[in-house]
């Protein structure tokens, strides 16, 4: 199945578009930056030096320093780590729960009504509010932020998987498998899940983008990653007090954040066009 997804992507020619290529290149560079942060000319991102507070860019501090005299470039490079960990973490949690609830809901009509009502309820709660409330009660940590961002995303993933399962349920090959007495888990895993891969990949890129964005928003609001860990949202949050004096600590991480999210969204649009022609036509 993954082979056919790869070949679909290749056939569609989306990788030939310059925008998609640029987006992929940027994401690759930022991922490399996050991975090799200690070897990229950075210093300890938490190292304080009050004698060099709020300086502009210089040979020693490429992007200047923040209000506590920490090197802004190093903080931004290390901050990429948080974004990627949160992005992949939320994606994994959302996919696991979405596939589980979605397939139970789609396959067992008895459970469907209950699961979908619960999902409707969660969807009605504004995601950011639920997330900041969760972080506030459980204390700021990377894990809490990750779970707080994932919970509001689960209903959409569940609906997506449920929709796919429902639509293939009446396909002749599934009916045939049922008639042959194939066990339920075999039908689900062998005949149904492969159909969810393409829409999951498309939806997954959007979940990734929105997780990176939401982490930055939560950290910006002071209800996210604890301040001792540099994350792009934290850097902006600390920089905002002195924005009128020195805009760098707000604008530089903001630029990285925007370019990262833009690249993921461009990639998502390209994947959607390649893998999900029906959805692509509607948007």
């Amino acid at each position: 199945m993954s082979v056919s997804i790869l070949s679909k992507i290749r056939e569609s020619g989306i990788l030939a578009g310059w925008a998609t290529r640029l987006a992929l290149l940027i994401l690759l560079l930022i991922a490399l930056m996050a991975t090799f942060a200690p070897w990229l000319g950075t210093v300890d991102p938490t190292l304080l030096d009050p004698s060099i507070r709020l300086q502009g860019p210089s040979a020693e501090h490429w992007l200047g320093t923040d209000a506590l005299g920490r090197d802004l470039y190093s903080r931004i490079v290390y901050g990429a780590r948080v974004s990627f960990v949160v992005g992949f973490g939320v994606l994994a949690v959302t996919a696991v729960f979405g596939v589980f609830f979605g397939s139970v809901s789609g396959y067992f009509p008895a459970a469907d009504a209950v699961i979908m009502r619960v999902m409707d309820g969660i969807m009605a709660i504004p995601g950011i509010l639920l997330a900041i409330a969760l972080v506030a009660v459980s204390g700021a940590s990377l894990m809490t932020v990750l779970i707080a961002i994932a919970i509001p995303e689960i209903p959409r993933m569940t609906r997506l998987v449920r929709g796919v399962i429902l639509s293939v349920r009446s396909e002749p090959y599934v009916e045939a498998a049922l008639t042959l007495g194939t066990p339920t888990h075999t039908i689900l895993i062998k005949h149904m899940f492969p159909n969810t891969f393409a829409p999951l990949i498309v939806q997954g890129t959007y979940v990734f983008a929105s997780a990176v964005l939401l982490e930055a928003i939560l950290s910006f609001l002071g209800a996210g990653i604890p301040p001792e860990i540099p994350s792009w949202g934290n850097i902006v949050a600390e920089g905002r007090k002195f924005f009128q004096l020195v805009p760098g600590p707000v604008l530089y991480p903001g630029l990285f954040l925007s370019i990262t999210i833009l690249s993921i969204n461009l990639l998502g649009d390209a994947l959607r066009d390649a893998l999900d022609p029906k959805l692509a036509a509607r948007l």
Binding site: I125, L129, V137
Partner: protein
């Protein structure tokens, strides 16, 4: 029609119940004792115990939940743990700023995205359309607080046209009021303009292929009239749907925007009460925002029948 509304209203009850359960569970069952958090680090065990009793936390969970829901149904949202004022009073005092900000944002969003979306559909595949589509991806990707600080940098710090932050109520004069809302509303609307322009474009492109459009053109109806009256009107349902769905995003955006521009609205109240762990205020606000989302979407569902007579049957 009335039967449909009644059915839809009844269908919101289980959703609201789930909302209440989720919020209650999040605030009560997560690790971290609200009473300890409220009491602070210096509190003695006796003080914590007293707070726990005052908050009703010594009762069984089911009793706590039932009491909370019952109080809310009677319109009693409790007392703020921090300021000691009734929650309903706090919310009423913050409502005005948020309502103003939301109205200005929605008006600005529609004012930009309807014409731009229609033009983009009309020039489908041409340079203008491609620029609009590219702009919409960018608008969708730049976080609202970054847009806000860029606007502040240009219009408040460099050009000095508009205030950096703050809020003036309507009683201070209409212009004073609006002047303080311009930058917040533009920041907040960026995402919606991106989203709604896209939907307007797609919906109009869809309807432009319909027979009645060809008939209208053949009759000699002027092109602007074909676009605005025939195409756009028939594209109303998907546009309304996306406005309804994006209300939750709008609420999240309000929290961020009010924080950046220091506007004393409900979004600020959410953040302040979360940071000070004022649980009675947080739970009420989340319930009210979810209720607003559900009711707005219900209204939109009902309005479908007004804009599109085909749905009425």
């Amino acid at each position: 029609m009335i039967g449909m509304i009644a059915r839809r209203l009844i269908a919101t009850i289980p959703v609201l119940l789930v909302v209440a359960i989720v919020i209650f569970a999040v605030l009560r069952l997560t690790p971290g004792d609200p009473a300890t958090l409220v009491a602070g680090d210096a509190a003695t065990p006796e003080q914590i115990e007293a707070i726990r009793r005052a908050m009703g936390l010594d009762q069984p969970v089911i009793v706590q939940f039932g009491r909370w829901v019952g109080d809310m149904l009677r319109g009693d949202f409790g007392i703020s743990l921090i300021s000691g004022k009734p929650v309903s009073e706090l919310i009423a005092s913050r409502m005005g700023a948020t309502v103003s900000l939301t109205i200005v944002t929605l008006l600005f969003t529609l004012l930009v995205s309807l014409p731009v979306g229609v033009l983009s559909a009309w020039y489908q595949g041409k340079a203008l359309d491609r620029a609009v589509m590219a702009g919409s991806v960018v608008g969708f990707s730049v976080p609202v607080f970054i847009v806000a600080y860029l606007l502040i940098l240009v219009f408040s710090i460099e050009l000095r046209w508009l205030p950096v932050q703050g809020y003036k109520p309507l009683s201070a004069g209409l212009w004073e009021h609006l002047r303080h809302l311009i930058l917040p509303a533009i920041s907040l609307s960026t995402v919606y303009i991106a989203l709604i322009t896209r939907i307007v474009r797609t919906s109009v492109i869809d309807t432009l292929g319909e027979d009645y459009i060809r008939t209208a053109r053949a009759k000699g109806v002027p092109e602007w009239s074909v676009l605005s009256r025939h195409a756009l009107q028939n594209a109303a349902v998907p546009i309304l749907t996306i406005i309804g769905i994006s209300i939750t995003m709008l609420i999240g955006g309000v929290v961020v925007t009010e924080s950046v521009f220091n506007i004393p609205g409900l979004g600020r109240l959410v953040l302040d009460s979360v940071l000070s762990r004022d649980f009675t205020v947080i739970q009420t606000l989340i319930v009210l925002f979810s209720l607003a989302y559900i009711l707005i979407n219900l209204l939109i569902d009902i309005s479908y029948t007004l804009v599109d007579p085909r749905i009425r049957s």
